[in-house]
């Protein structure tokens, strides 16, 4: 059955999602364990695949038993397998977490929420696993449609944010489709490996250049890199907290994966670097994105919005790493994808927990929060450390590699940007921690008598455990980062670097 593990990853969430609404008629409560079960199976098989890939190398799975250029195939190399594990693990964590949070925020829509949740996970997995350009588009649309609707059920402003996302997302997906068409028009193929084989002869044609630019534009919109990030902050802020905890770590990371795939597998690195030197453009955009995202994040009072701008900044890091296009830079980018998934997951989960307890996310209301929710805030601190880049966490290593890559590429400005952005990160996270830890409740002069004792008001266990697990994940990724690099990421780097 291990031969069929690749399809099981996709088909189990899909088929379980089909049954979820019917199950919801019988009992609403059944949906939650059902979702957990499906994602657990999916996660197990993704682990099996990772193991197989590590042992035996790239897996090819032919759907419908057709040979690759004619049919669709799955190609799972190290990067895919790593992304599959990350997606399934994060979505499992968020699924565990979602129970209480969803019951609080959208109590009457639980059944359909879980259906679309599973479909969205299916979409992410399908994008990552597929080896066919058009198939990626289809699954991208599944993930996007699910994302639109999940964002729109948030708070008051959510529908408008979601509509902006619909417009931008459609432009992005259509650009992607357009560039697939351009590639198809000159190669006649849709399979990634086949296209990669055929493309080098055509590198000096306008068509390929246009295709590349539009593909990067489309993926960039989905990824929310700097000039095209306008939809992201509002969407992630106003979505339900479980949704933003699912989408902020995963959607952008999946798009980042797609960008790495396009830059280094579909197009050869030589083309990107030597022929048109698009990479320096990307890294500049990334650097500006880092600064802009961080500066906007400082200006926010809402924790979720701050985190959303932080997402934009972190995407900038990844784009920077991709654009550096050398060994260290790409290692840093991939490691940062792993790191970001866990870190942003953790931080958004904490934000959701705070919303669950306080009913809002304004930073000024966080007074005394460290006393009230010690475990949650500890996790928050770990996440913040990881974003800032303090040693035992994973963020330190990814930033280290990025800085090394910048030095190797002789781009000292980027080193400065990276260090400066760390300082900005310190500023905005320190504000939160300072308010939560050190600022006391203002003395209430109208009342006499002693202050009330601080009640420990921790979030429920189903929310606390995921938060702690992600925090632990950050630390583990940091501690075992060399192992991750030597086992997985080393194989991702193209040979020419």
């Amino acid at each position: 059955m291990t031969d069929q593990a690749p399809i099981i990853i996709i088909i189990i969430p899909l088929m379980f999602a089909l049954i979820t609404p019917l199950l919801g008629w019988i009992r609403k409560n059944l949906c939650y364990p059902w979702v957990l079960l499906s994602i657990t199976i999916s996660a197990l098989s993704s682990f099996i695949i990772l193991r197989t890939v590590l042992l035996r190398g790239v897996i090819h799975y032919r759907l419908g038993n057709w040979d690759p250029p004619w049919g669709i195939e799955y190609v799972i190399d190290h990067l895919n397998a790593l992304m599959l594990v990350i997606i399934t693990v994060i979505s499992l964590i968020v699924a565990v977490y979602s129970k209480k949070s969803i019951q609080r925020e959208i109590p009457d829509k639980i059944v359909y929420f879980y259906t679309i949740f599973l479909l969205q996970v299916t979409g992410y997995l399908g994008i990552v696993i597929s080896g066919d350009l058009f198939n990626i588009y289809v699954f991208l649309e599944i993930a996007s449609l699910a994302g639109y609707s999940l964002i729109a059920i948030g708070d008051e402003r959510a529908p408008y944010a979601s509509f902006r996302y619909v417009v931008m997302g459609t432009i992005g997906a259509s650009f992607y489709l357009l560039s697939v068409g351009y590639i198809y028009s000159v190669t006649g193929s849709l399979n990634i490996a086949d296209v990669a084989r055929l493309l080098p002869d055509l590198y000096n044609s306008n068509v390929i250049l246009t295709a590349l630019v539009f593909m990067f534009a489309g993926i960039g919109i989905k990824m929310a890199v700097f000039p095209m990030h306008a939809w992201a902050p509002n969407a992630y802020t106003h979505a339900p907290s479980a949704v933003s905890a699912l989408m902020a770590p995963l959607m952008t990371k999946v798009a980042a994966y797609l960008m790495i795939r396009v830059s280094f597998t579909v197009f050869k690195p030589e083309f990107i670097i030597d022929v048109i030197s698009l990479n320096s453009f990307i890294s500049w955009i990334g650097a500006v994105g880092v600064l802009v995202g961080s500066i906007f994040a400082i200006a926010q009072n809402n924790l979720k919005k701050m985190l959303s701008y932080s997402v934009v900044a972190q995407i900038g890091y990844i784009a920077l790493g991709i654009g550096l296009a050398n060994n260290y830079g790409l290692t840093g980018a991939v490691l940062h994808i792993v790191n970001e998934a866990f870190t942003k997951g953790c931080l958004f989960l904490v934000a959701g927990g705070i919303v669950y307890r306080l009913g809002g996310c304004n930073i000024n209301d966080f007074k005394n929060l460290f006393r009230k929710m010690p475990f949650t805030m500890t996790a928050f601190t770990i996440g913040a450390f990881s974003l800032i880049g303090i040693p035992p966490t994973c963020g330190f290593f990814s930033k280290l590699y990025l800085i090394l890559g910048s030095i190797e590429a002789d781009q000292w400005i980027f080193v400065g940007v990276l260090l400066f952005s760390s300082i900005l990160n310190v500023i905005y996270f320190f504000r939160v921690i300072q308010v939560a830890a050190f600022e006391k409740q203002m003395p209430d002069h109208s009342r006499e008598g002693p202050y009330e004792a601080v009640v420990i008001d921790e979030v429920p266990l189903t929310m606390l455990i995921p938060i702690q697990v992600t925090a632990l994940g950050i630390l583990l990724c940091g501690i075992f980062s060399t192992e991750i690099i030597s086992a997985v990421i080393k194989h991702v780097i193209p040979v020419s670097f």
Binding site: F134, V138, E141, L145, Y148, S149, A152, E156, R157, P159, Y160, S162, F163, V166, V167, T170, I171, A173, S174, L177, L178, G181, Y184, S185, L190
Partner: protein, 126 residues
């Protein structure tokens, strides 16, 4: 030069349509207009793909003599390339699905703000 333009006029028209759709999506303040622009934009891309598929002197991608004849040799240049058609069927489905979700979100927006004009919505938000 003239030949060069005429040879590809389908592509020019698709670019014009795409620009119209994109302009409507970016500039129009009415949300329904944006959705209409979205529709035009996606249709333009479909037009591009179908133009890729067309073949001078080709007929429909449906075999004429359906059954019975074994070992019939099919001349490839007689039939239009069917692959872009298939891709575009999927794209049309995606178009319809996006349309449905966009309209549903639009109704939610109207429910909250009572208007479909973007500037009025932004004004009411503050």
């Amino acid at each position: 030069m003239i030949d060069f333009i005429i040879e590809r006029y389908n592509f020019w028209i698709y670019i014009i349509l795409m620009m119209i759709g994109l302009y409507a999506m970016i500039t129009k303040r009415n949300l329904v207009k944006k959705v209409i622009g979205m529709n035009i934009f996606q249709t333009a891309i479909i037009l591009f793909y179908i133009s890729l598929a067309s073949k001078r002197g080709g007929t429909l991608p449906i075999l004429e003599h359906a059954h019975g004849e074994e070992n019939l040799t099919v001349d490839v240049s007689n039939y239009i390339n069917p692959l872009p058609h298939v891709l575009m069927l999927t794209a049309i489905v995606v178009m319809v699905a996006t349309l449905g979700v966009a309209l549903a979100i639009l109704i939610l927006i109207y429910r909250k703000y009572g208007t479909l004009e973007e500037d009025e919505i932004l004004k009411k938000m503050q």
